[in-house]
């Protein structure tokens, strides 16, 4: 695609297959060309999508994905409903994978010292280096065929393998091995748990298999499914992104979580009367001492232990933020607690466990780097890791790597690890590769490319096979063959599937990694007669589930080390936490992940320092301020300040992922990298990195002029809490389960004041006639209880609807274009953070305030119940946006162009908008049209449309359901009839197409008092004084708000305390 002017490309995406444009200046209509194929591939129909089942390659979870292909490109990534991992959801990282493939900063081919080299030269150098022996492979966790091939190459060439990832799982793997002798880490199945307990793992967003966990969490929180609503207790020093969903937060002193877990295990064992083999271990536990070190009242732990002893539960271990010097003990304690609670085999699986392949530790990596620095490592191959960015500055990784004579780095050009002496080998994006994964023991998933490589790339598997061939290595697994006639050319042409012959190296002539994968599957999984048919089914479904392994009888190793509960760290420890979208920095080259506001802080394109209100006050800063954080001579700043009620006093928390200093991609250089502040330290048991290692000093930074402009950032979340507006209503979970009548929002909900005289006179409250919806009334139901605020919907919506990325300067002017605004309201304090997420989109009102004010009828109500938005009619008055009570509309202040390269990822079914045009959510009208066209000539769709919109399709927790409200038995209609369902600002009588399901809470509401503010009391007055005049209702609303404000200060003072005592009671 080198010659093409990409900027022009997107203008004509709606036309036949291969199309280009010429914009000439002569006075005629623009001349456009149609470029047909010379030879058209059989499966391609220009203009129609093709779908490929594949497997995400961005983290160890390896969720099944479905790639939507149009005209040679992958334009959308969604989850695969057949995949046991993820179950149809997709996270923001998987969805943004196209931005890796089309990134303008992707290197075009292999490079050395900034100069292009040929693959032949690069591979020759690599082969020579590998065959010279003593090569070392330092890379990500790998499973499946690549793991096997690496094993064979290592065995044949003497290559050493080190598999490590930042935020890795060596502590849990070591603890699992230590306690139960299992290779791998447990698989966590949240669905059956009544009590969910976590010690800091960000399991809903970044830890292990978040998409899978989210599906399970949603099931555990949906009382219709299991007859219960799970209660989530989070024990961690800082309310993490996952912690924002908790029902109770027990604030632990950083570094003491292991002690709390041991103490709980002891208490549960005492209550159950059985320690399940952990007697000797737990006899060494002093529960009171551990609780006191953690700063948690033992009585509260006792209440929690009673619940754990009584109900099925699940206990997650620690995460990055709680990873101290005893992280293995924390992991071990969580496993022991799961054991005494009886969770193995139900919610925690060791048989069908999570498979990570070879797991090395941080200590192994440090040892390797020391050897590099000493010059004893001759050949180092780095596989898609960024050690310079993810390891502490003190380790001087860059210098160590410079001392390696033969350095090869698999990278697509992003990240900091591309030293001058390295040969960079671009493997391409997983959207372009063949491969597979075995994320869970017994579940095999295929990775098939959704498009041809966009650059001159070669996957790790192909490189290894090529190296093996030229270095004449004997690779036994390459000899796996499959017999049978090929019906489909995808598998092979006329020859059988001879995959090479171990005894005759020339067999490699036929081998590429695709065939190696096929051979691996044939060898490991295929048992029938007709491989071709089986293989095609595998490719279509995306994977293969072997019979789930039997759950073993778990027995605890009686000889475990004495429990190390940890000791509380000083009050100015850096609490390092993983960024929800950027992970360890590996996805920082994808602009859409910086563009969507961080789910909790709302900040974009930056790194921030999080602190408690008291700490911020002590420093004299507020949310608009800046600080510099320093440790051991390294200064980080100026950082934006985020004041959070979920922070312990004194400490400061900084997210990962931002701030590449030497980043290969232009999008990676925003913000700052807190890893630089960390001290190199390892857990002595597992060798895991210690993230709670650094004491920092925080100083206020006063910026002015250009610096202020440069570092000024706004939180796109707007208000910190709901400001007494009834946005996200709640309901008391036990009442819901028991089927009692629930009052949504406890007085804060919708109050429509009815005037009997209006009804008596036969008049209507409606200003407009009721619109007709003869066949469809499209609706969306959004479950605000199971919504975890992960942000996948935002990223998916932006990708599907070609929503432009506007960048940091425009964000300072609040010109963010995303159609979905994921609101976050931090309602509570102390033990009950009560954080509420709301997905705010166009509500598709039947009585839409926007429609009446449009002078050119660019927006109107259509027969399907949509607020249609006709872009070419719009003249940009912005009246509609001003009149929208939901702030759902976005105005194009400029014609936002896509950054170079990204025109290719645009959805050809959706037009791009230009300056002066209003845009908003359309319920993915292009998808609705598509299914309607498919359904012709039937008038009514019969197919399942529950996950039709892009947001609903990817939502990992299945919280978004789309459908036709005119159909009595559609899922969306049934959800709308639920007592938990409400319309946003229902008193406005806009008759929305979007319905919300209330958040469920385990905190007993105070009767007659609004849960999140003083609104309820205020409203009582309003009813009395203004209730008789319907027209005054708006006025009454204002009075409510004013009274609420007065009440708010007082109310908030004792809010946390009140709820804390409530939590004790039940």
């Amino acid at each position: 695609m080198g010659d093409m002017n990409r900027r022009d490309f997107f203008k004509v995406l709606g036309t036949t297959g291969a199309v280009g444009t010429l914009t000439a200046c002569d006075p005629r209509t623009p001349v456009e060309h149609i470029y047909p194929y010379v030879v058209q591939p059989e499966q391609v129909v220009p203009g129609a999508p093709t779908f490929f089942a594949s497997t995400c390659g961005d983290c160890v979870a390896a969720c099944g994905t479905v790639l939507r292909h149009r005209e040679g490109r992958v334009v959308f990534v969604a989850g695969n409903t057949e995949s046991p991992v993820g179950q149809g959801g997709a996270c923001s990282v998987a969805i943004s994978a196209t931005q890796e493939a089309f990134n303008a900063d992707h290197i075009g081919g292999p490079q050395k010292g900034g100069e292009d080299v040929s693959w032949d030269d690069a591979l020759a150098a690599l082969s020579a280096a590998v065959s010279g022996g003593s090569a070392t492979w330092l890379g990500r966790y790998r499973t499946g065929a690549l793991d096997r091939l690496l094993g064979d190459v290592a065995a044949a060439s003497g290559m050493q393998r080190v598999h490590w990832e930042a935020f890795g799982y060596e502590s849990l793997a070591t603890a699992s091995k230590l306690a139960f002798g299992i290779d791998g880490v447990p698989r966590y199945q949240v669905a059956g748990a009544h009590i969910i307990l976590s010690f800091g793992a960000d399991w809903l967003n970044t830890w292990l298999a978040p998409v899978d966990h989210q599906a399970g969490y949603a099931a555990a929180r949906t009382h219709e499914q299991g007859g219960f609503v799970a209660e989530f207790v989070s024990i961690e020093p800082r309310v993490s992104h996952t912690g924002t969903k908790c029902d109770q937060w027990l604030k632990s002193n950083p570094g003491t979580e292991a002690g709390v877990a041991f103490a709980l295990a002891k208490l549960v064992a005492e209550k159950k009367g059985s320690a399940m083999g952990a007697e000797s271990l737990l006899s060494q536990v002093d529960a009171a001492a551990f609780a006191s070190a953690a700063g948690i009242d033992l009585a509260k732990l006792d209440v929690l232990a009673t619940k754990l002893a009584a109900k099925p539960s699940i206990i997650f271990p620690g995460g990055v933020t709680t990873q101290g010097e005893n992280s293995t003990h924390l992991a071990l304690a969580s496993l022991v607690l799961n054991l005494v609670c009886g969770n193995f085999g139900t919610t925690v699986l060791l048989g069908a466990h999570t498979n990570l392949g070879v797991v090395s530790s941080y200590a192994d990596v440090v040892k390797l780097l020391e050897a590099c620095a000493a010059g004893s490592v001759k050949t180092l191959i780095i596989d898609e890791l960024d050690p310079i960015f993810t390891l502490p500055a003190e380790l001087k990784v860059a210098d160590a790597l410079k001392a390696v004579p033969n350095l090869f780095v698999f990278t697509n050009g992003s990240g900091d690890t591309h030293p001058e002496n390295a040969t960079l080998l671009p493997p391409g994006s997983w959207l372009e590769q063949w491969g597979d994964a075995e994320p869970v023991k017994g579940h095999f998933q295929i990775r098939q490319p959704g498009m041809a490589p966009q650059h001159n790339t070669m996957s790790q598997g192909d490189v290894l096979l090529s190296v093996a061939k030229s270095a004449a290595l004997v690779i036994p697994s390459a000899a796996d063959t499959v017999e049978g006639e090929a019906e489909d050319e995808a598998v092979s042409s006329t020859d059988t599937y001879a995959l090479g012959d171990a005894s005759a190296v020339p067999g490699f002539e036929a081998v590429d990694f695709y065939r190696y994968v096929a051979g691996h599957w044939a060898d490991k999984l295929f048992t029938g007669d007709d491989f071709a048919a089986w293989w095609i089914e595998v490719l279509q479904r995306g994977g293969f589930a072997a019979a789930p392994s039997e759950e073993p009888e778990v027995s605890l190793n009686p000889e475990l080390p004495a429990p190390n509960g940890g000791s509380a760290l000083s009050g100015n420890t850096l609490l390092f936490f993983p960024h929800a979208h950027l992970l360890d920095g590996r996805t920082a080259n994808r602009p859409s992940l910086h563009e969507v506001p961080h789910p909790v802080s709302g900040l974009t394109w930056t790194t921030w320092a999080e602190m408690s209100p008291a700490t911020a006050q002590g420093l004299g800063v507020d949310k608009d301020g800046h600080v510099t954080v320093a440790s051991g001579g390294v200064e980080l700043g100026p950082l934006n300040v985020r004041v959070s009620k979920g922070m312990p006093d004194g400490h400061v928390a900084i997210p990962s992922g931002n701030g590449h200093q030497d980043g290969g991609s232009r999008y990676e250089r925003f913000g700052a990298n807190p890893v630089r502040l960390l001290k190199p330290a390892a857990d002595p048991v597992s060798g895991a990195m210690v993230y709670l290692s650094s004491e920092v000093t925080v100083t206020k930074t006063v910026l002015s002029g250009a610096d202020w402009e440069k570092y000024k950032r706004v939180s796109l979340k707007g208000s910190e809490d709901m400001d007494n507006r009834p946005v996200v209503l709640d309901a008391y979970a036990p009442d819901v389960v028991e089927g009692k009548e629930v009052e949504l929002g406890h007085g804060m909900g919708v109050h429509v004041v009815k005037d009997p005289r209006i009804e008596a006179a036969g008049m209507s409250y409606d200003m407009y006639p009721e619109p007709e919806h003869p066949t469809y009334r499209w609706g969306l139901s959004i479950n605000l209880d199971t919504c975890t605020g992960c942000g996948a919907c935002e990223v998916a919506c932006n990708a599907e609807n070609n929503v432009p990325m506007t960048g940091p300067e425009q964000h300072q002017l609040w010109r963010y274009m995303g159609w979905i605004r994921l609101d976050r309201f931090w309602q509570g304090e102390g033990e009950n953070p009560d954080v509420r997420y709301s997905m705010a989109i166009c509500q598709q009102c039947a009585h839409a305030p926007c429609e009446g004010v449009c002078p050119v009828v660019a927006t109107y109500h259509n027969l399907d119940g949509l607020n249609a938005m006709i872009y070419n009619r719009c003249v940009g008055t912005r009246y509609c946006a001003n009149n929208c009570p939901y702030s759902a509309r976005r105005f194009n202040w400029h014609t936002y162009r896509w950054p170079e390269g990204f025109e290719l990822m645009l959805n050809p079914d959706v037009v791009t908008r230009e300056a002066g045009v209003m845009e908003k959510c359309t319920f993915c009208i292009q998808r609705i049209r598509h299914v309607k066209t498919e359904a012709r000539p039937n008038t009514v769709l019969s197919q399942d449309v529950e996950r039709l919109t892009a947001c609903a399709e990817v939502c990992p927790s299945g919280s978004i359901v789309f459908g036709n409200r005119k159909e009595a038995d559609s899922a969306v209609t049934k959800l709308a009839e639920s007592p938990l369902s409400y319309q946003l600002f229902g008193e406005l009588n806009t008759k929305n197409g979007v319905e919300y399901l209330a958040k469920l809470t385990h905190t007993k509401p105070h009767h007659g008092e609004a849960h999140g503010g003083g609104h309820g009391d205020g409203h009582g007055n309003a009813d009395a004084t203004h209730g008789d005049v319907g027209a005054d209702h708006g006025d009454a609303g204002h009075k409510d708000a004013a009274q609420g404000d007065e009440a708010q200060g007082e109310h908030h003072h004792n809010h946390g305390e009140d709820h804390g005592s409530d939590a004790d009671k039940h």
């Binding site: 002017n5 194929y37 041809a452 259509n862 950054p899 008038t939």
Partner: protein
């Protein structure tokens, strides 16, 4: 490089890359952030339209000629009936995606080769032009044929061929009888303006045939802006 060789799956060669694009009068970009976020100046006009009003009005004219086609393709020879001296080919022989996709499709060169490899081009200009694309010695061999678009539907309009063809709308209803025309031109009676579309959406007999008692409702739906607009 090794890839899935011998596996001609969907990713065939994408021919776009072979084409160089020209863009003579693009607006100047006001870029921010080192080119990361290009922002264009505010312009209510599409960039390809000139600013002066008279020329703009003439641009609106529907009778203007289109650029010459790279090959003088004669629709009449292919599509008119055998009795009339033609080949009697169906439209969908070449525009084979009309029933499957939003685009009717222009045939791949492969389709032309099917017959033309056996036809002597001597003395016929169109066939000599075609030969440059299909003979290995030809100067354009391996290149896609750069057909000039005759009708360009705006990007903000959603038009789907398959939906119309499957509903029983004949090709000739919109494209006239191409068996009577040679090289495709922009004909004055075929305007592709919105009112022209709506005439059919209001009256086309296929609506009654397909929807019977629901035809009136269907007609109302067909006049909904969102049927075609984005």
């Amino acid at each position: 490089m090794p890839s899935a060789t011998g596996t001609p799956r969907v990713w065939a060669v994408i021919l776009l890359g072979a084409v160089s694009f020209a863009s003579k009068c693009e607006n100047i970009d006001v870029t921010s952030n080192e080119d990361s976020f290009p922002i264009e100046t505010h312009s209510l006009l599409p960039p390809e339209y000139p600013d002066d009003v008279e020329t703009r009005i003439s641009v609106g004219s529907v009778v203007q000629p289109v650029d010459p086609q790279p090959i003088e393709f004669k629709h009449d020879v292919h599509a008119s009936s055998v009795e009339d001296g033609g080949l009697g080919m169906s439209c969908e022989y070449c525009h084979s995606n009309a029933r499957k996709s939003k685009h009717a499709g222009v045939p791949p060169t492969q389709t032309c080769v099917g017959c033309h490899s056996m036809i002597d081009p001597s003395g016929r200009e169109g066939l000599v032009q075609l030969d440059t694309y299909i003979k290995e010695s030809g100067e354009n061999y391996g290149q896609p044929i750069p057909w000039v678009k005759v009708h360009d539907i705006p990007d903000f309009v959603y038009f789907n061929h398959s939906r119309h063809v499957k509903s029983g709308v004949e090709c000739t209803d919109c494209h006239a009888d191409m068996s009577k025309h040679g090289v495709a031109v922009r004909a004055p009676d075929m305007t592709m303006l919105m009112g022209w579309c709506l005439e059919c959406h209001a009256e086309h007999p296929s609506v009654d045939a397909n929807y019977g008692a629901d035809a009136d409702l269907r007609r109302a739906e067909l006049k909904d802006c969102y049927t075609c607009h984005q």
